[in-house]
Amino acid sequence: MHRTGELYGQFKTLDQQKETAALGMWVFLVTEVLFFGGMFMTYTINRHAYQAAFGLGGNTLDLKLGGFNTVVLIMSSLTMAGSVWAAQVGKRQLISLLLVATLVLGGVFLGVKAIEYKQKYDHHLIPGHSFDITYCGKTPAACGFAGEQAALETEELEKALAKDPDLNAHAQLYFSLYFGMTGLHALHMIVGAGLLIWLLKESFAGRFTPEYNTPVEIVGLYWHFVDIVWIYLFPLLYLIDRHN
């Protein structure tokens, strides 16, 4: 294993090595755009076809949690960018501090996502045999709704059912795409977390200097990309056709 900071055999200069690494990450991110793009395309086409079901599905998502997560992720991009800057100006301790902050914020994001997923499980909204979009409308108490809110839930459900007799099937399509898109995103975040842990290890060993900080920059690029995917996911899933 080469120590980071050393010139690899196929390169002639450190500059060439750095330029190559950065270009490599950019090209990889382009492939990721196309990868997520296919699913985004499928989602968009289906949303257009089944507005009632998708609207209803979107409204079951917790806006507060989603909004909180968005802020968390943006802050994590800030701390990540900060650690890149810290590396460039040689503030070694700050690099590690900001990397830890990024990791923690990423962990918070994943934790909130887990809470959201659990809620979906409780409300019978995981695609499969027990999927039932009418569950919360029929038994609002079981979903933690009471009084006026409960009445609203039932009314929403009735309106949607009137527009789309196949509501359950189409709502299941919404949630398949919801879990597919947020799941794929979460997977990328977990990979990102792994990369951050590796970076931390190198940072603690004092490997990053103003002359050599390519890994921080590149992981930063990746992290920002994952953040941007969420910036698209949030409005698409949570905000369109929001009632309350």
Binding site: Q16, F28, T31, L34, M39, S176
Partner: protein
């Protein structure tokens, strides 16, 4: 032969399985793609034998449907798509641009392992129930109705996609950042331009098939409804997503072969290629326009007439750059000094067969004709002319051309020329009758057919037996030549690329000294080091007649 080179620099199985030397990785790929070629070829043999009689006597309908599906999957995903890029591209790209290796050598090795893992899933699918959906996996047949081992196959192809993506990424970055001093973009060999264009398609297209197969697999496993109309999904959406990659994929298969031809012709005509910038530009044009023609596979799905018109027009436009290449290659021969060596025979065979394959594409792009020809044997003939007559001939021709560089040995020339001619003849006999079958109305993917189609089917099978011989012969004599072939010098043909300025086989670091490029590509006149045109004859013999 030099005393130490990439083949003998280190010994032992670990030095091969854990290598990061692009040349060794190329040979690892050579072994694995050849394996899948055999598998696909075995299925093809069974198909052609079965079709000797109208009722089909060899296998049951279920088995037949599995045969053509697995033939397609093995050949397209595990042979054709990797072949030239992962074997010849991996071996030659760094050397051609004067670099010591690719930008990311470890990623290169990872690509091969990903390919193997994908291959293992697919082999598992083949051996536990097989696959009978067609390589196109149309839904809801593949996601709901088929009872074959669809899920492992889909997983395998999904995984294999990442092998392509990483190879494409590696190539693009390498060409941008690792060129030797003086190697400007317009001094690059056309093979490199072709690989670059192909890599763009790898990067942009493959992720889409990955997500498509992922969704189809999830639909099958968890009874979701993306593409199943009974659950609110749309089978046509699957087709759009599938063909968005799979059409550019056919350009992945042909562009590298075109790159090989663009190297062979100048070498064996001993003059610069006619229209260098047009050939380079046409590779990029094909890669770009190729992303906008996918729905020409869907003219008869009920898609909007306006969409059909647009896609038909674009499909004609994408043919123009290919035509430009053919004209430029032919013009290069004018006033050349043409040798009849085997690689040249393959190159000319390529042009002839690609002409027919490409021109018959114009028939299919024509909306009025496609109504009749869609999903008939005409289509089967068309794509085999391009993929086998084009891509495979380019691959085999390239193997011959660079064989001395890769192995340090010369193959037996006479045998090679015989095999090339046998291949050309066998190929035409196999596939030309299929154009006629298609126009007469024989649909594709049929295990039985009306009796009036038998004569043409028998001709096709007869051709296939000759074609098989045409492939077996090189496999035998190329392997033979490794031990018994005449030793090759650094530049036996001679040719002008950087790869011919280093030893045969090359040292592990490719060059003892990083070259500095001051000459234009394919410049035979101003290269005294080649020993031509009155210069001192310092060449090793090209045909071993010492």
């Amino acid at each position: 032969m030099p005393r130490v080179h990439y083949l003998n620099a280190t010994y032992g199985i670990r030095s091969w399985l854990l290598t990061t030397d692009h040349k060794r990785i190329a040979l690892l790929y050579l072994a694995s793609v050849t394996f899948f070629f055999f598998i696909g070829g075995l299925f093809a043999t069974m198909i052609r034998i079965h079709l000797l009689t109208p009722a089909g006597f060899l296998v049951t309908p279920e088995t037949y449907n599995k045969l053509f599906t697995m033939h397609g999957v093995a050949m397209i995903f595990f042979f054709l798509i990797p072949s030239i890029p992962a074997v010849l591209g991996n071996f030659l790209l760094p050397i051609m641009i004067g670099a010591k290796d690719l930008a990311f050598p470890k990623l290169n090795l990872l690509s091969w392992y990903i390919y193997l893992i994908g291959g293992m899933f697919v082999l598992y699918s083949f051996s536990t129930g097989g696959l009978d959906t067609g390589w196109t996996f149309y839904t809801p047949l593949s996601s709901v109705y088929s009872n074959s081992a669809v899920t492992p196959a889909v997983i395998g192809i999904f995984i294999n996609g990442f092998s392509s993506i990483l190879t494409g990424l590696n190539f693009v970055v390498t060409v941008h950042t690792m060129r030797a001093p003086g190697m400007t973009w317009f001094r690059l060999p056309l093979f490199v331009w072709a690989q670059y264009a192909t890599s763009i398609i790898f990067i942009l297209g493959t992720p889409v098939i990955a997500i498509t197969l992922l969704l189809a697999g999830l639909e099958r496993m968890f009874h979701l409804g993306f593409f199943n109309p009974a659950l609110g999904g749309d089978p046509i959406l699957f087709q759009h997503l599938f063909w968005f990659y799979s059409h550019p994929a056919v350009y992945i298969m042909i562009l590298p072969a075109m790159g090989v031809i663009s190297e062979i012709i100048p070498t064996f005509a001993r003059k610069p290629i006619f229209g260098y910038s047009f050939i380079a530009g046409s590779s990029i044009a094909i890669a770009v326009i190729g992303f906008f023609v996918w729905a020409h596979h869907m003219f008869l799905t009920g898609e909007s007439t306006y969409a059909a018109l647009a896609f038909s027009l674009l499909s004609y436009l994408v043919a123009i750059p290919s035509a430009v290449k053919v004209f430029n290659w032919a013009s290069t021969l004018y006033k050349g000094s043409i040798s009849w060596d085997t690689p040249m025979l393959y190159a000319l065979g390529f042009i002839g067969l690609f002409l027919i394959g490409g021109l018959t594409g114009l028939f299919l792009a024509c909306l009025g004709l496609d109504i009749h020809l869609h999903d008939t044997y005409f289509v089967v003939a068309h794509f085999h002319y391009i993929m086998v007559g084009g891509a495979v001939m380019g691959y085999v021709g390239g193997l011959h051309f660079w064989w001395p560089k890769i192995t340090g040995k010369l193959y037996p020339e006479f045998m090679a020329r015989v095999a090339a001619i046998v291949l050309f003849f066998g190929f035409n006999l196999t596939f030309f009758p299929q154009f006629l079958l298609g126009y007469l109305g024989m649909p594709r993917r049929y295990h039985t057919y009306p009796p009036e189609f038998q004569v043409l089917n028998v001709m096709s099978t007869a051709g296939a037996s000759i074609l098989a011989l045409g492939y077996l012969l090189p496999m035998i004599y190329l392997v033979w030549s490794i031990k018994y072939g005449k030793v090759a010098g650094p530049n036996p043909w001679p040719s002008t690329g950087l790869e011919w300025k280093t030893a045969s086989p090359p040292p592990t670091e490719n060059f003892d000294v990083t070259p500095e490029v001051t000459w234009e590509p394919y410049d035979f006149k101003n290269r005294p080091d080649l020993g031509l045109d009155g210069g001192s004859p310092s060449l090793a013999p090209a045909h071993g007649d010492d």
